[in-house]
Symmetry: C2
């Protein structure tokens, strides 16, 4: 019996797609690469996932696991060979249960992130993972890539929000590691090894995630800061003044905000004309709206007095808060409207970010006169989307073609000098695989290869992602 | 040249001990086992650690890494063979640096936990890991065992407090994974794999740890609760009412407190006579003493109204707060005064703890008439020290000898039925190695063995701990 027939037997013929338009699964989100799958297989249960893995292992076929296919590094689409099986987890989308007293929720890998947020909220609880793709990305993908987003400063990445996993191994065994436990020291941390391994060590089929009480109020403020140094000072004041109430701290460079104002004139972008950077702060409070506002106002008064903030507004209501976040979230779209650009997702120790930017800005401007820097990101976590746009009026396609390697080298070499990471929250996939060989320590790479070899000796799971094949 | 001579060359003759009283390194903290080392080696730098590992690997000698030797599961002392090299990390005790703006501190493995707490505090910062042995345990040991303690409900275990590691591998290579980054998705999570591996996968030589702003105030309260169900209800109210201010939530059974009152009559144990359980709560506040008190009082009023608390006191000053914590921390000592007992360190989903205790209490009382249960622990994390004391006036040595296997079986089988863990915060070591074979999933054990085999193929690092040799 050939593999396709075995797969049909395992998951039903209707869930093995080999014909028609498969671009929803074969084309990556950024449309950088189009692959070709042997088949798209859509298992509906953990047992079916295990059966698919066993069948593929027996046939020697590679498996690419996929959630919402919103990844940004080419990690969840098949290569062009037509030999890889694309396993979509989207049919596995049940919330298996909520344990409110334990503050946990057990969900299948294919649950959409927004569904988790909404399910928790209906119980008066918060699931804090939040990112731009939340309407279509899945929790399995979030865990596979250890997704970050906007609330990491308070709640951590996807990894920190997970207590346990159910995983199908490369051998088609099921590890039943779902756990509602906050303390469990019975051996090696398999959970965190699978999280962030981008489908190369096992296939996550379900997870138990942490929940939090829903805050009583959430307020948003927008501050003009005279420099990145000042933004870092403001972050320190905010940590001290708001404590764990600080749930968001985003920085936005003037040019990034100019692009929003230019391409989305209907959006009101506050305070950006006279200042090199603005900061968006979020304060979540378990007491009340009034308390949150008093806290915020005290913080901003201190900051104005200190000089690290030159002007600020606090949103008066939820609509205004949404509007401020909408400006922040429109930066990537505005950038796309402006034309092709070179994206980075880097992290640097917060204390060294100002100096890093001074140095990298200067090196880029020297190498490419007129280059425009779209600098914004989650400063609270030291994570910048330090993007590079062609000089005004230049040929953007030529810029991308001719300058991308040089720009990446300048940026990533600077990142390494500042003890940073070339992939803060997006992962490695195929996009940064070669760069990893250069910027990750050889000892770490050797350890990673040993682990990959031991758990997936035939290199069947997402081969060539993270590590070279 | 023989191994001892090579080791002397690597770390200096004065730091290779083979004679005299080596019990400080060879005898475990609980004095359950006394081992015999080939030598006690005390490297003073990462390069020396690497040289020792290379020398031992070349000679085929096993290495047992040790910090403060305060572990409770026989994981850090040599076996009785006289062939294992005991590597003490205590000389590596430098604080390499504090980065206040990044809220991180980089320290060597041999730094004593209390030193970290005090070093942070001098900078107006908090290092929140806190546990009974903090005056002598080291951060390397804390990370090797993923230590827990009293503030996990807010700040997580040692693992959650660590951003990066420096590790010497089984091959004597140095992985320079120190990092001040809160986001870094460049490959597998080696950090969390080494943390909690109890020295069986690599030797942690340094770590970068998270810091927090020092709270403006910290208040302690003591509440009488009519049942464990009520304690769980109180925990829910505390999460909602105090938010991230809830930094401690300890439960103590009446008999545990009776033992404290009996053996330490100078301590005033509040409210315990009329109630089956008491709860100790800690509220850390970034605003002020007054705010913390108002929050606490509101919470306790709600709880009294709800009925989940029947009486409560809030400490009036720091001395009173210390006194309340002192009562809690005296339970293990009072228990030792009462005589030998069988200790457990279990975790259960918080929501299921009341039912678990009802069931396990009944099974134990049925199996051993008159048995006395000393139940206390970190309820906020679902972690109980569910200890079993001989019937009053019974022969305690005989009880331990005759009943320990039966008691462990009853408790651990119940733990498994309730999806709990047989080691919440102490680890596995040699003590729970056999139990692990029974209570951990075979798939997880197979994955662990694969990883051990791949990173330490000659089984040189702490052989026979966690996994059977």
């Amino acid at each position: 019996m050939n593999l396709i027939e075995t797969l049909r037997g395992a998951v039903g013929a209707a869930n093995v797609l080999t014909e028609g338009d498969l671009s929803a699964w074969e084309q990556d989100w950024r449309k950088r690469e189009r692959g070709k799958a042997l088949a798209v297989v859509r298992p509906g249960s953990t047992a079916e996932v295990a059966a698919v893995v066993k069948a593929c292992a027996a046939a020697g076929a590679a498996i690419v696991a996929q959630g919402g296919n919103t990844g940004l590094v080419g990690g969840s689409t098949p290569d062009g060979s037509g030999t890889q099986v694309l396993m979509s987890l989207q049919r596995m989308n049940k919330v298996r249960g909520i344990d409110a007293a334990n503050l946990t929720m057990t969900v299948e890998a294919g649950c959409v992130l927004q569904t988790l947020q909404e399910t928790a909220e209906r119980q008066g609880l918060l699931f804090p993972l939040s990112l731009a793709a939340e309407g279509s990305c899945t929790i399995g993908g979030n865990l596979g890539t250890n997704a970050g987003g906007t609330q990491v400063v308070r709640y951590g990445n996807a990894r920190e929000l997970c207590l346990g996993l159910e995983v199908v191994t490369a051998q088609g065994e099921v590890w039943e590691g779902l756990s509602g436990l906050r303390k469990d020291n019975t051996g090696y941390d398999l959970r965190d090894l699978f999280i962030g391994s981008e489908g190369t060590l096992g296939i996550i089929t379900a997870a138990t995630m942490k929940l939090y009480p829903l805050p009583a109020a959430s307020l948003t403020a927008w501050a003009a800061v005279p420099s990145l140094e000042a933004a870092v000072t403001l972050l320190g004041l905010a940590h001290k003044g708001l404590g764990a109430g600080l749930t968001g701290f985003e920085v936005m460079g003037q040019f990034a905000l100019e692009l929003v104002a230019k391409h989305f004139p209907q959006l009101r972008v506050p305070l950006y004309q006279q200042t090199p950077y603005c900061v968006l702060l979020e304060n979540s409070d378990h007491e009340s709206q009034e308390h949150a506002r008093a806290q915020f106002e005290r913080l901003l008064e201190n900051a104005l007095e200190d000089g690290c903030v030159t002007d600020a507004v606090v949103a008066e209501n939820i609509a205004q808060a949404h509007q401020l976040w909408h400006v922040r979230e429109s930066i990537p779209l505005a950038q796309a409207e402006e034309g092709l650009n070179i994206k980075h997702d880097i992290s640097i120790p917060v204390s060294r970010i100002p100096q890093f930017c001074t140095e990298a800005d200067a090196l880029l401007r020297q190498a490419i006169p007129g280059v425009r820097l779209v600098n914004f990101g989650h400063l609270g976590d030291g994570n910048l989307h330090y993007n590079v746009q062609a000089p005004e009026g230049g040929d953007m396609a030529a810029f991308l073609r001719d300058c991308e390697p040089q720009v990446n080298t300048i940026v990533y070499d600077a990142v390494s000098r500042y003890d940073g990471s070339i992939s803060a929250e997006h992962g490695v996939g195929t996009l940064k695989r070669e760069k990893l060989e250069k910027h990750k320590s050889p000892v770490a790479l050797a350890l990673m290869r040993s682990i990959k070899q031991s758990l997936d000796p035939h290199n069947l799971l997402n081969p060539g992602r993270v590590l070279k094949a």
